[in-house]
């Protein structure tokens, strides 16, 4: 490092689950940027920190990989970045290889490959506490001598572990030299033939590990092993998984109730204040009937979304998620998938987009494509407002457990449909050139890093709020305008009747035009227009209904009713109840199976490289949703339940 004013670039490399992100966060703190590597849809995380000598370092967190012989997009990016082949990215000045001290034999081959690139390397020996508990006797000094690089023992998950981090930062600056030198080792394992090289690396690593990471007690049964004895047992694994899902959804309903009521109250108070403070007119109507009704209708579900992200993050960080994937492997095999698809599909329950991008980890091209095509059928958080509202209307006054059970049933319906679709798609999509099989690492159970978890939840919540403040706000204002204009003239019957005024608005006209199409599903024009609007963003469905029913309010008392009360009281023009149980079930089924998210279609097109396929998915899912909702409603009608 020549000059403290210069910035130096350091790459962070390692296997997945080794603690790279934790180390990255510990080093860079809040000084982070997230973007994409040029030309590829692979996330690039970079951050900055200063060494004790005042040298500024740009740290780039590369995607986790098992080797530099790439078999996925992520691994290709790591490989290219380390060779300076990524457009717009300079060759790193140094590489920090993060290795798991408790499994050195598995992690060192990647380090050897990085050394072969002749880049300056520092090894961060992470999870030394885990190694100690596993009975591994480490000798970092010997490791450093044999490889000719600095080896720093760290515990990245310890918030106050300044010792390891300080030494790591110090290693990035030799006191008496201006730059870190490449490794001093002569790379004794090098061979010309690729296969011989791989074998030679393996042998070198085994010999080195026997000296530098001796395993003393093979019979030690760790806590993880004892827990796996239960979780990986087919008799217990399944019931525990189902129970876990029940607890998650029960918590969704019960824990979120208080904050949701509070948010509802806040927006209600703001609406009342605006109503009383501003003169009557279009601006006041826009604020109360458009902005507040629309935003409030969406933001009230923020607590539920945060709780769902919390539980998903908890399962990932603790190590339980991979056990769940193992348990699901057998079931997914019946659908033509493997346990590898479980993690992306579970992520899709938070949002389809990260789930679809997570499918990159699936080695099989056919399985990856199937997973991407069925991922939108995993009920995402955007559907939660619709499900919650419909369930409350369907089962007013029942316990949280009953509602949780219905919610689990809804999620299972989506999953079942997806697995059946996967089975059918498997017969239509060409096989892989090389057969791929399921293999998954089961990391040791770890106490979750709650600081990191809450930061992730905060980040996702901010994204949700940004979306609410931009896309949903914009659509809400548009919807308000469509429902307000054209305004009835003075003296016309619609001027005294808000329902008639709504029918004559642009939205009403559109709704009346599509009503013949949606009526067989049990929807009137108001519900139909809300469904159509929700194709832009699902959250808009409830916002739209809130705006529509707010616009219909004849007096202040009616305006003060909650949306749920308004929907429960809503009727057809002939006085029949609108939201009957079959209509509600029809709506639920429609929302389970329709792809109502344009951003998802954009990401699908990008990941599969085909707009035709993405469009086919969008239209196919829409058609299926319509047919399913039609069958549910009409069957219920025939049986006398409508």
């Amino acid at each position: 490092m020549q000059d403290s004013a210069q910035s130096h670039r350091v790459a962070l490399v390692g296997n997945p689950n080794v603690g790279k992100t934790t180390l990255f966060n510990a080093l860079t703190g809040s000084q982070q940027k997230v973007g994409n590597f040029s030309g590829v849809t692979v996330t690039k995380k970079s951050g900055e920190f200063r060494t004790p000598y005042g040298v500024k370092v740009e740290l780039v967190d590369l995607p986790g990989c098992y080797s530099l012989d790439p078999e996925s997009k992520d691994e290709q990016v790591t490989c290219d970045f380390l060779q300076g082949k990524v457009t717009g990215e300079a060759l790193p000045d140094a590489v920090i290889c993060v290795v798991d001290a408790s499994a050195l034999e598995r992690h060192l081959p990647l380090v050897l490959q990085v050394l072969e690139l002749k880049l300056p390397v520092i090894i961060a020996l992470n999870m030394v506490d885990v190694a100690q508990k596993a009975g591994v006797k480490l000798d970092p000094t010997l490791l450093a001598e044999e490889l000719g690089v600095d080896v720093i023992a760290i515990q990245a998950n310890q918030a106050n572990s300044s010792k390891g981090l300080l030494e790591l930062k110090q290693a990035l600056q030799f006191p008496s030299s201006s730059e870190i030198s490449p490794s001093k080792t002569t790379l004794p394992w090098l061979k010309e033939d690729a296969e011989e090289l791989r074998v030679a690396r393996g042998e070198f690593v085994q010999q080195l590990s026997k000296k530098a990471a001796r395993r003393e007690d093979q019979a030690t049964l760790l806590f993880s092993d004892k827990l796996d004895g239960v979780l990986l047992n087919p008799l217990f694994g399944w019931p525990i998984l189902v129970l876990t899902m029940l607890v998650v959804f029960y918590s969704l309903f019960t824990l979120s109730a208080y904050p949701m009521d509070w948010i509802d109250g806040v927006f209600g108070s703001i609406g009342e204040w605006v109503e009383s403070s501003m003169p009557a007119g279009d601006l006041r109507d826009l604020l109360t009937g458009g902005v507040i009704a629309g935003l409030g209708g969406t933001l009230v579900f923020l607590p539920q979304i945060m709780i769902l992200f919390f539980f998903i993050g908890l399962m990932e960080m603790s190590g339980y998620m991979s056990r769940a994937a193992y348990t699901m492997d057998h079931l997914m095999a019946r659908a033509g998938l493997s346990g590898s698809a479980f993690l992306p599909l579970l992520s899709a329950h938070a949002c389809a987009i990260p789930g679809i991008m997570g499918a990159r980890t699936i080695r099989s091209r056919r399985e990856r494509l199937i997973t991407i095509l069925i991922a939108p059928w995993m009920s995402c958080t955007a559907r939660l407002p619709v499900y919650t509202t419909m369930i409350a209307l369907l089962l007013p006054g029942v316990s949280g457990w009953a509602k949780a059970g219905i919610m689990v049933g809804i999620y299972l319906l989506g999953i079942l449909g997806a697995l059946i679709a996967a089975r059918l798609l498997k017969t239509r999509i060409a096989e892989d050139e090389k057969e791929q099989h399921f293999m998954l690492e089961l990391p040791p159970f770890r106490w979750p890093q709650f600081g990191l978890l809450f930061r992730q939840i905060a980040s996702k919540s901010v994204s949700f709020l940004k979306r609410a403040g931009t896309v949903i706000l914009g659509i809400s204002i548009l919807l308000w305008a469509l429902e307000t204009y054209p305004k009835p003239k003075e003296g016309e019957p619609a001027a005294e009747d808000s329902s008639l005024a709504l029918e004559q608005s642009y939205m009403g006209q559109l709704g009346k035009a599509i009503e013949p199409v949606v009526e067989p599903l049990g929807y009137d024009w108001r519900t139909g227009t809300a469904v159509v609007a929700s194709f832009a963003a699902r959250e808009v469905f409830i916002s739209n209904l809130a705006i529509t029913f707010a616009a219909e309010a004849d007096d202040e008392d009616e305006a003060q009713q909650t949306l749920q009360d308004k929907l429960a009281a809503a009727t057809w023009p002939d006085g029949r109840k609108l939201y009957t149980p079959m209509t509600l079930l029809s709506l639920l089924v429609f929302f389970i199976y329709a792809l109502q998210c344009f951003p998802t279609s954009v990401v699908v097109a990008r990941e599969v490289g085909s707009w035709k396929l993405a469009a086919g998915q969008f239209l196919g899912m829409g058609a299926f949703a319509y047919a399913a909702a039609l069958i549910v409603y009409q069957t219920g009608r025939m049986l006398g339940y409508a």
Partner: protein, 82 residues
């Protein structure tokens, strides 16, 4: 070395999928279409592996890492036990 009943009984070579649960084995060879994938995950000649359970997906311990491995992959790993 002359083959005797004792010799036959003292060394057993088979695939990882057929290995006994709970016994430490040594990887003798990795051969098949998924050789690279297996080697990247630590299945190398001379490495010790311990099978932890049976089933469609086998759980085993190799190089200090617990892995769930499909049976068809386990068929490509040849191990021997003493």
């Amino acid at each position: 070395m002359a083959i005797t009943p004792t010799t036959l009984l003292s060394e057993t070579t088979h695939t990882l999928s057929k290995a006994e649960v709970g016994i430490h084995c040594m990887i003798q060879n990795v051969d098949g279409s998924s050789k690279k994938q297996l080697q990247d995950m630590g299945f190398m000649k001379g490495v010790e592996v311990k099978k932890l359970n049976c089933g469609r997906t086998i759980v085993c311990m190799v190089s200090g890492v617990k892995l769930a491995v499909n049976r068809k992959l386990a068929d490509q790993v040849i191990v021997h036990t003493h």
